[in-house]
Amino acid sequence: MSSELRARSSAQDIANSSTAAYKQQISFAQILEQGERDGLPATRFVSQFAQGRLTHTGRDFDLAIVGPGLLQMRDGETLVYSRGGSFVRGPDGVIADAQGRVLQTASGGDLAAVGERIEILSDGTVLADGMPAGAVGIFEASAPETIEALGGSLYRAPPGAIVEAEASSLRQGYLESANVVLSDELVAMMAASRQAESGARISRVYDQLIGQAITTFGRGTQ
């Protein structure tokens, strides 16, 4: 079971090796404290937030983050987080992604920038034709393990777990590549496959032993 989970997580990483800002899943074995199953390792997967390579796109509204930070976006009434991405400027200069999630400012609220030439500095400051027009909010989770992946490179954080980022900076005109190393994933899949083989062998030997025990003791009582 654990081999299958590992293989699936690796498959997910491989499938998303071209997805912008995708974060590799890492597994760790966890001992369950559940009575009879005590001691059996279960495998859990969490997103591994290591930095992905930045790719230059030259587009004004492509944003990537260097460091552990997240951008805040308003999806209808809820707030979601992402590691950056391709945004477009809509009516009234509101900056949103293709699905209409609106980028939020550092102090909260929708970000809007009107002007011919929009420049976004590494600290998030937005300059429209050279004049300050607000700041993109860069946030960090106070407890990274509470961040929950929503798919599509989006994350959700519980209320109160988000603070202003300190060690992160923004890059305009770049996108973050997935932090997946294909060769590592393929090796991990092969390892999972071999592990399953030895698991199967152990089961078979165990089965044989029980079989032997039954026949031996069975003979003994005759």
């Binding site: 699936r8 491989i14 499938a15 997805t19 859990r44 997967f45 969490v46 391709s86 009516p91 393929l186």
Partner: protein
């Protein structure tokens, strides 16, 4: 059933779709006014809680179940292609982000990035396919030269030597690229609910008109080729994932002998 199978298969499908988008770009490298599409990948999560571990997760459910990947095409309608001079006075291109509006069939508005002009049977300035410009410019029969200025003013000189001003071609703009969709013949139309912004060429930031030039496609072959190689590698890796998933299934099957 083990999930690596489906995830790997979803990966194969996505890479194949990406290859189709790239192939379309490459096929249109010499199409005047063609705008390339970009491939965009996005991860899918089948379900957030990992149901396969029957475990009550306390706070902060951070298990992400693998679901695969999907690919979408992101159109790049607003990125400029190189202008190539043709010395044909009936060729017109736009240096900027605007579009020339055309009168399509049934009064539908169509957007055009320029190309070769002609005078259609009604005596109107039209595209090579015969669609008249929204600006309705009547061209007299006895014409010796036609000039289109950067701000769209069309003037003509008759064989008698008179200079006439025939009208002005305006440009339209959209607020965002996602408001446009492709239709036949390299033309674009607005999606439902979107509104165009009328502007004057060489003012209002929509660009200027360039007579005697054609806009080449904005496809850069090297970039597409490099992308294609990356897609090919990713495809192979996904195929490997499916193969290993198959091996795992075989091991499980062989447990019972």
């Amino acid at each position: 059933m083990n999930g690596a199978f489906e995830v790997g298969a979803a990966g194969l499908r996505a890479e194949q779709k990406a290859l189709e988008i790239l192939a379309n770009n490459i096929a249109n490298v010499n199409t005047a006014g063609f705008k390339r599409s970009e491939t965009q990948f996005s991860e899918i999560l089948a379900q957030r809680a990992n149901a396969e571990i029957a475990e009550p997760v306390a706070t902060g459910d951070i298990l992400a179940a693998a679901g695969g990947v999907r690919v979408t095409a992101r159109e790049t309608f607003l990125s400029q292609g190189t202008l190539r001079p043709t010395d044909n006075p009936l060729d017109i291109a736009i240096d900027g982000q605007g579009f020339i509006e055309l009168m399509g069939p049934n009064g539908r508005s169509l957007f055009w990035r320029g190309g070769r002009l002609q005078v259609n049977e009604d005596g109107l300035l039209a595209t090579a396919a015969g669609l008249p410009l929204r600006a309705t410019i009547n061209v007299p029969m006895d014409l010796s030269a036609l000039a289109i200025s950067a701000d769209g003013i069309v003037s003509a000189e008759t064989t008698a030597g008179d200079r006439l001003e025939l009208g002005q071609i305006g440009l339209v703009r959209v607020e965002r690229e996602t408001e446009l969709e492709r239709v036949e013949g390299g033309l674009l139309q607005l999606v439902d609910g979107a509104r165009p912004i009328d502007t004057v060429a060489a003012e209002d930031g929509s660009g200027r008109l360039v007579q005697g030039s054609i806009e080449e496609s904005n496809v850069a072959l090297t970039e597409e080729m490099v992308q294609m190689m990356i897609v090919q590698r990713a495809y192979a890796a996904n195929a490997q994932a499916v193969q290993i998933a198959d091996q795992l299934a075989a091991i499980t099957n062989n447990l019972r002998q």
